[in-house]
């Protein structure tokens, strides 16, 4: 069964990435928005729906609306962590399908590298449910992912070198992307020899800390006919969350992508085996392994074997995180929007050296918090 085509991605853009000083987070969003809209043959005045999260501000969609002079008739500042932008894409699809808007703009920007750096600290008084977690010196968020990794290793026998396979393969993709922050090749031995951050995760199991922003424009079916570039249709969407703090995660080896993925595949009428290219949030190497299992690309506990032998690297059987991912390309704190940007470019065939030949069906999956939220989008081209 083929889903009805209701909304398509018509434009995508990154802002400057890496270290963008002295630019601000809102500036990154505005510049990316202008470029993404231009790709779609549109400008600020055409936008009637705004979606944003983070952006170093209260009420992110209000902030970008004010900055760009946009008064939307549909607005959504949902913040469920790094997966927010994939949830936004799903919400935009629903809103367009319901006739509530025609041109949706999703934006994100962060200057965490040049401005503040990523704090591993908490300090001070801890209130609410956090009073039971925030007092132990668990580095956030890496310590929570380390707890999940330890559990996965215990239950399934997953090995550190299998986690390292992900970092190595992702770096190979980054070497093909001139926008990637880290492009020098690394080996499994390099990953295992890099210093511990929070066992069993090494430094090279962890994502980058960069600045960056991006924008995605989603338009109605009617508008999609006028797009200058190949429309990339939203075929499926799902979202969920299971907890906020890691102590409350129901099963440390099962992410809510189990639910978001199943919903997205069902809506799209496709199966994991149909996907040509996958962009999966890689805050840490363990995030990728758990997500591959949750989405059904392999069975529970099988992800270590699934990624072995550089199967996800360029030329491998399973093209994964083809921009170089949060591990090697860019990670400004909330990476999700970049999975949509890369998946769109792959389906348009614009990726040059890193292009996956003949890609027609792509999956983008975001993870937020400490494996807390997930949002999945299935994209396709005509």
């Amino acid at each position: 069964m083929t889903p009805e085509l209701m909304a398509a991605i018509g434009g995508v853009a990154e802002s400057d990435l890496g270290d963008v000083a002295p630019k601000t987070a809102i500036q990154l969003q505005a510049e990316a928005a202008r470029e993404a809209l231009a790709e779609a043959g549109l400008t600020f005045g055409d936008v009637d729906a705004l979606f944003s999260a983070g952006g170093e501000t209260f009420a992110a969609s209000m902030a970008i609306g004010e900055y760009l002079g946009i008064r939307p008739r549909f607005t959504d500042s949902t913040n469920i962590g790094g997966s927010s932008f994939l949830a936004h894409a799903g919400h935009a699809y629903r809103a367009i399908a319901a006739g509530l808007c025609d041109v949706a703009l999703i934006t994100y920007g962060s200057t965490q590298r040049s401005q503040t750096g990523r704090s591993l600290g908490r300090g001070g008084g801890v209130r609410g449910p956090q009073q039971f977690e925030g007092v132990w010196g668990l580095p956030a968020p890496v310590g929570a992912y380390a707890l999940a990794a330890t559990r996965h290793m215990h239950v399934y026998g997953t090995r550190p070198e299998q986690l390292a396979e992900v970092a190595v393969a992702t770096r190979k993709w980054a070497s093909l992307n001139e926008k990637a922050f880290m492009r020098d090749p690394i080996t499994i031995e390099d990953v295992l020899a890099s210093r511990w951050i929070s066992e069993p995760l090494h430094l090279l199991d962890c994502c980058l800390v960069t600045d960056g922003g991006g924008a995605v424009v989603i338009v109605s079916r009617e508008r999609a006919r006028d797009l200058p570039r190949t429309p990339v249709w939203i075929l499926g969407h799902g979202e969920s969350h299971t907890h906020l703090g890691i102590s409350s995660m129901p099963d440390l080896t099962t992410t809510p992508a189990v639910y978001s993925g199943a919903a997205a595949f069902a809506m799209a009428g496709v199966a994991p085996a149909d996907i040509d290219v996958a962009e999966v949030y890689d805050s840490f190497t363990i995030t990728v392994l758990l997500t591959l299992e949750a989405l059904g690309f392999c069975g529970p506990g099988e992800s270590g074997d699934f990624v072995a032998g550089q199967r996800t690297a360029p030329g491998g059987q399973f093209p994964l995180n083809t921009n170089g991912g949060g591990l090697s390309y860019c990670h400004p704190g909330m990476y999700g929007i970049f999975t949509l940007i890369e998946a769109t470019r792959q389906l348009r065939g614009e990726c040059g050296l890193r292009q996956v030949d003949g890609a027609r069906l792509a999956l983008a999956n975001g993870t937020g918090g400490v494996l807390s939220s997930a949002a999945t989008i299935v994209l396709g081209r005509d």
Partner: protein, 132 residues
């Protein structure tokens, strides 16, 4: 050194911290459905009852998972490496805690542990169970 995090009790969690001050680990138990609840809540997440009573916990459990922290928050950096664990109590609830009285290399998943209330601020740490 940066100030360390300390818990700020609220009306619901106060009995927990009063218990810790007395050297007793307490958790909630739902008077309606009988299940233990942690962290403390005003409403039972299993059956929506407000009849949440405080009961003394066994203080015994097992390591559900753990991590050896090598790069901690700044205010804990002079203590690395240290072990933060998720402990599954015999009552069936899971709580996060630092482990004491054990070398990081001796920690493993399923290790039997017991509560060890100590420190300033006074917190429910855990240590390997002495008599197994």
């Amino acid at each position: 050194m940066t100030e360390r995090a300390f818990p700020v009790p609220d009306a619901v969690s106060l009995p927990f911290w009063e218990g810790i001050a007395e050297g007793v680990l307490r958790v909630q138990r739902c008077g309606a459905c009988g299940r233990h609840v942690f962290y403390p809540r005003a409403v039972c997440p299993y059956c929506a009852s407000s009849e949440l009573d405080w009961v003394d916990a066994s203080g015994r459990g097992r390591i559900h998972s753990y991590t050896v922290v090598h790069r901690g928050p700044p205010e804990y950096r002079d203590e690395v490496p240290y072990v933060v664990a998720l402990v599954e109590l015999d009552e069936g609830v899971r709580m996060m805690a630092r482990l004491v009285d054990v070398e990081p290399a001796a920690v493993s998943v399923d290790l039997p542990v017991e509560v060890a209330i100590q420190g300033d601020p006074r917190l429910p740490y855990f240590r390997p169970r002495s008599s197994e």
